[in-house]
């Protein structure tokens, strides 16, 4: 269980990025965090990853307080961030340095096959397309078998087709070991197609605005009416989150019905 307890962050330059954010996230749950810019989404993710320390509150994973990067927490960034001097295979195996070479090779080969890039094992990162590079980044993060995988707008730099492709692929990979996924995104479509729960945040300072449970069976049909209904709920919450005069609401699942449009 990943628990966020009143996590807040004020940067040294005085920017109040995140205010008392609390949430409990069950193992295997997929959470999408969505909100306008400056609502502390990335700050929150970096605090969970242990890359930045929260100013107030704390992040705990199975009762361990997270203050620095943790073996059970992986992260995928907006850019693939592959190491240009390592081959694709060595990039994927980067987090397995402690394992014996034979085991490492096996796990890397399996991961390469799983993301469909076996033929690129010996290629340099510069020889990959954007989508391929991000797939390598996903494989690199998943190969140490994290319990929590954080994704910071992982597909936002890709074209629409590749993005869809990778969203489906991510779900597919997730099903293998079912880690907790926490995904920061700008894309309502992406949030609804992936998440069990969509958390809408409001800016300045960043805090939780609304929570929408997406109880749709997977695989989800992006063209179904129900899908649209959930999308509209998220959109409405997003719209309202940007209106500074609105009271905070933390409504579950029926958020949409309470709103007018």
């Amino acid at each position: 269980m990943l628990a966020l307890n009143e996590v807040g962050k004020t940067y040294p330059n005085g920017v109040h990025a995140l205010e008392r954010f609390s949430a409990e996230i069950r193992p295997g749950e997929i959470i999408a965090i969505i909100g306008g810019s400056g609502c502390g989404k990335s700050t929150l993710l970096r605090a969970i990853a242990g890359l930045d320390r929260a100013s107030t509150g704390m992040v705990t994973l199975d009762n361990t307080i997270i203050t620095s990067p943790h073996a059970k927490i992986g992260i995928i960034f907006q850019e693939p961030r592959l190491l240009p001097w390592l081959s694709v295979a060595d990039n994927i195996g980067f987090g397995l340095a402690e394992l014996p070479a034979g085991v490492r090779r096996e796990r890397v080969a399996a991961a390469l096959a799983r993301v469909g890039l076996t033929d690129k094992a010996a290629a340099w990162p510069r020889e990959l397309s954007g989508g391929q590079a991000q797939r390598v980044a996903i494989a690199r993060a998943l190969v140490p078998q994290p319990e929590v995988l954080l994704l910071d707008e992982p597909f936002s730099a890709l074209d629409a087709f590749t993005r869809r492709d990778l969203q489906d692929h991510l779900l597919d990979l997730w099903a293998d070991t079912r880690p907790t996924l926490i995904l920061v995104t700008h894309d309502v479509d992406e949030a609804v197609v992936l998440a069990d729960r969509v958390i809408v945040m409001r800016p300045r300072p960043g805090r939780l605005f609304a929570e929408i449970t997406v109880n749709l069976a997977r695989p989800r049909d992006r063209n179904s009416e129900l899908f649209d209904t959930f999308k509209r709920r998220v959109l409405t919450a997003l719209d309202r989150s940007l209106d500074r005069n609105v009271r905070d609401v933390t409504d579950k699942s029926n958020a949409g019905e309470a709103m007018w449009w």
């Binding site: 990853a49 990067p69 850019e79 961030r81 190491l83 240009p84 001097w85 990162p125 510069r126």
Partner: protein, 282 residues
């Protein structure tokens, strides 16, 4: 209708042959292109002297320079001078590189050391290194030590600056990848920082080596009894321009050769680079 054009097998073979020809062209003809100008100039001058339009006393023709080199080589003099110079450049280069790398790494990695050390190093860098010569001779004597010290000083600065700059400009995002995988300080250096700074480091080594060659001449101007720099001075004092040119030509060859050695040694480590130059440029 689909707009695919299937080449007949024959044409494809032709295209293959053309590609092979193009590859041969880029492998042999392109370097040859660089030789065209100097060779033409040398031949031109040779012709001018041969036709008697100039006596070539102050600017001896290539054949005379070549003859001088052969003469020096036959007597064993040339080897002695080359070895003396190579030893000085080698020793000075190694000292300069070791000092520059260590201090550059400390300044780049550790902010406090940089604030403490860097202003002084930068101030020293502003001094023309030749200005050290009298002091070095007083301190270290007229023989090898002062010469090697001067060369080491020349090599030190570009290596120091290159290493420090390279470490400071390592992408924060790549370092963060190391943090995510919980690399310890040493592993972070070995697995992230070192490979990231390597391209810039190789460049700084090459710049340093170039300066090493420059400074060995200055060092050998001050009272050497052997070395290529001594050949220069000796040629001037005895009025032997062919000997001066011979020494200059050998400097050029050795400089290019040692630079090429660094390049070749580093090439396997830098294959991953996606550089403009690696593709042969435009």
């Amino acid at each position: 209708m689909a707009m695919t054009v299937d080449l007949p097998a024959l044409d494809q073979g032709d295209a293959g042959a053309r590609r092979a020809a193009a590859a041969r062209w880029s492998r042999f003809a392109r370097p040859a292109l660089g030789l065209a100008l100097p060779v033409a100039l040398a031949l031109g001058w040779e012709l001018v002297v041969h036709l008697g339009w100039s006596n070539g006393r102050l600017v001896p023709p290539p054949s005379k320079v070549f003859a001088t080199i052969m003469e020096l080589a036959k007597s064993g003099e040339l080897t002695r001078h080359i070895l003396a110079t190579l030893w000085r450049v080698g020793a000075g280069f190694v000292l300069g590189v070791v000092a520059g790398t260590i201090m550059g790494a400390i300044s780049g990695y550790w902010g406090l050391a940089r604030r403490l050390l860097d202003p002084t190093v930068q101030a020293l860098r502003a001094i023309p290194s030749i200005a050290w010569v009298p002091l070095f001779i007083l301190w270290l004597g007229i023989f090898e030590t002062s010469k090697i010290a001067l060369i080491a000083v020349g090599v030190f600065f570009p290596v120091y600056l290159g290493v420090m700059g390279a470490i400071l400009s390592v992408d924060r995002k790549v370092v963060e990848v190391g943090r995510v995988f919980r690399l310890s300080g040493f592993a972070m250096i070995r697995r992230i920082l070192l490979p990231a700074v390597l391209p810039a480091y190789v460049v700084s080594l090459r710049v340093g080596l170039g300066l090493g060659w420059m400074f060995v001449v200055a060092a050998e101007f001050m009272g050497a009894s052997e070395g290529l720099g001594y050949l220069l001075i000796d040629g001037q004092q005895l009025g032997k321009p062919a000997q001066i040119l011979a020494a200059i030509v050998i400097f050029a060859i050795l400089g290019k050769l040692t630079d090429w050695l660094i390049e070749v040694a580093a090439a396997p480590l830098l294959r991953w680079q996606d550089a403009f130059g690696a593709r042969g440029g435009a």
